[in-house]
């Protein structure tokens, strides 16, 4: 986030990839491609490719971490070393991935009905295979589908989208360049029905009025993402359009 940008993010009202301010990138979701996992899903969101597998509920280990009132949610978000167009990254957890694992876990603690599974753990493994800006929102969106595929009861479906500011304009679903050279990035996750905010992060500089407008834009876009999530699940269970898993 540099404030002043050297890159023109909006030219003739269009963004670098030709989108309008409120237009999402193409999103494709596949369900259930990992038979050994309780639930799984894969999302292609623009140039992002994110895989999520869910295990559990199963016995919580180590045992002293178990909660006699509810299930413990564990989330591991990881960026593959080959996910970025530039250098070969380091394997394993980074400070960034540790933080993201935490905030994604905190999204799902609000919706998973953990009280139904005392003393157990529910594990979410999220692997970013290809990154193009907005991996945390893509991760949250794909995790909701994987959890549904695992049959884990949730109070509501969860949808996610980032809103931000680039070229002095409010935009939804920031791509990598917009994320790197834009003025602000506000990744949000919300419950589908009552629009409770489950993830709120922000960097850059924004006024209160801009944030208010962004929240409205985010609700609209999150609804679109939600529809795609539901469609992917329906297609999977009705057996319609069951394609072979394609990365």
């Amino acid at each position: 986030m540099g404030g002043a940008t050297d890159i023109q993010l909006i030219v003739d009202g269009k963004r670098l990839d030709g989108r309008t301010a409120e237009q999402l990138r193409n999103i494709k979701i596949q369900v259930g491609m990992i038979p050994e996992a309780e639930g799984s899903a894969f999302i292609e969101w623009g140039g992002n490719k994110v895989l999520c597998g869910v295990h559990g509920p199963r016995q919580c280990l180590p045992k002293h971490m178990a909660n006699p009132y509810k299930a413990v949610i564990k989330c591991r978000y990881m960026m593959s070393p080959f996910a970025s167009l530039e250098e070969h990254g380091r394997s394993g957890p980074s400070r960034r991935s540790t933080e993201l694992s935490k905030v994604i876990k905190e999204v799902y603690e609000n919706v998973i009905m953990t009280e139904q599974f005392p003393n157990t753990q529910i594990e979410m493994y999220i692997d970013v295979l290809q990154a193009d800006g907005g991996t945390r929102t893509a991760s949250i969106a794909v995790a909701a589908v994987a959890l549904a595929n695992a049959g884990i009861p949730m109070k509501d479906m969860v949808s996610a989208v980032a809103v931000g500011k680039g070229g002095d304009q409010l935009i939804v679903d920031l791509g990598k360049i917009e994320d790197n050279f834009g003025q602000s990035d506000v990744p949000l996750a919300m419950s589908a029905r009552n629009k409770d905010l489950l993830l709120v992060q922000m960097d850059g500089l924004l006024t209160r009025e801009e944030i208010e407008k962004m929240l409205e834009m985010a609700e609209k876009s999150a609804d679109e993402v939600h529809k795609l999530q539901v469609k992917a699940l329906k297609d999977h269970y009705t057996g319609e359009k069951e394609e072979e898993f394609k990365l």
Binding site: E99, S101, E106, N110, N194, V200, E212
Partner: protein, 263 residues
């Protein structure tokens, strides 16, 4: 009963206590819902660093130091200086903190404060260029010395205060001349963080440790004089109206604390 089970039972009792009090419009320590504990700032406490400050909010105490080194720029920003924020939850600060590699709380703290400072543009990293492949690196370390709740606001305050204390190093032959300075940073904006938590139907600012332990929703909102410069939601959820109302409170509290910092 094992320790974990005891903790669980205690947290239910504490939650009832704190929540019932809030229902009567009261907090355990007698503060109003929108009231901070006393704020204290001591600048220049570390002589070996170019900038430093100790901030206290109530009994919570955080030291932040800012130290310069010559660094290699990131490949995608070859003319910009490097800015790094690290944090240590010292085991001495709380019986809940342990030695060993940083836990997720510590990483979240460092990254939350980092975003507030970086986004506010209080530091102009472009002015940190020395020569090709050489820039100044500003390394800030957060040391949580005592944790009685709300270390995020305390750490952000200490970090901003350390920047108001920051001396810029003198550079000769692309190296830092230690102990000699070319001026001061003189910040144009002062980012301040405000933490709000929700218990029952009540939002309160600056939670104590006991209040934090029974938090349902937590959000940190950092503001400059005119802008929101960072937000980070912790556990729980909130709706749009609550977020906007909290932003208003954060602007107000930020301005109050900024006055203390400037006095």
């Amino acid at each position: 009963m094992g320790d974990e089970a005891k903790q669980l039972v205690m947290s239910h009792i504490r939650k009832d206590l704190v929540k019932n009090l809030l229902d009567d419009g009261k907090r355990l320590d007698g503060r109003k819902f929108g009231e901070y504990r006393p704020v204290e700032i001591h600048k220049g406490v570390i002589g070996t660093a170019e900038g430093s400050a100790l901030a206290k909010i109530g009994e919570t105490m955080v030291l932040v130091s800012a130290k310069f080194d010559v660094a290699t720029p990131f490949p995608d920003r070859p003319t910009e200086g490097v800015f790094m924020m690290n944090s240590e939850l010292l085991p001495t600060a709380s019986p809940r903190f342990e030695t060993g590699p940083p836990r997720e709380e510590s990483i979240e703290l460092a990254r939350t404060v980092d975003r507030a400072i970086r986004s506010s543009e209080v530091i102009d990293v472009k002015s940190f260029f020395i020569e090709e492949d050489k820039v100044l690196g500003l390394f800030m370390d957060i040391y949580v010395l005592n944790h009685s709740g709300n270390y995020v606001d305390t750490a952000t305050l200490a970090a901003t205060a350390a920047l108001t204390d920051l001396k810029l190093p003198k550079i000769e032959n692309a190296a830092i001349v230690r102990g000699e300075y070319s001026g001061k940073l003189e910040p144009k904006v002062l980012p301040i963080s405000t933490t709000l938590i929700k218990i029952g139907n009540h939002w309160i600012v600056d939670p104590t440790l006991t209040e934090e332990q029974v938090t349902e929703t937590r959000i940190n909102i950092a503001t400059t004089e005119e802008h929101v410069c960072s937000m980070q939601k912790g556990e729980g959820s909130l709706n749009k109206d609550e977020l906007l109302a909290n932003i208003d409170i954060a602007f107000k509290k930020g301005s109050d604390i900024r006055k203390i910092l400037l006095s």
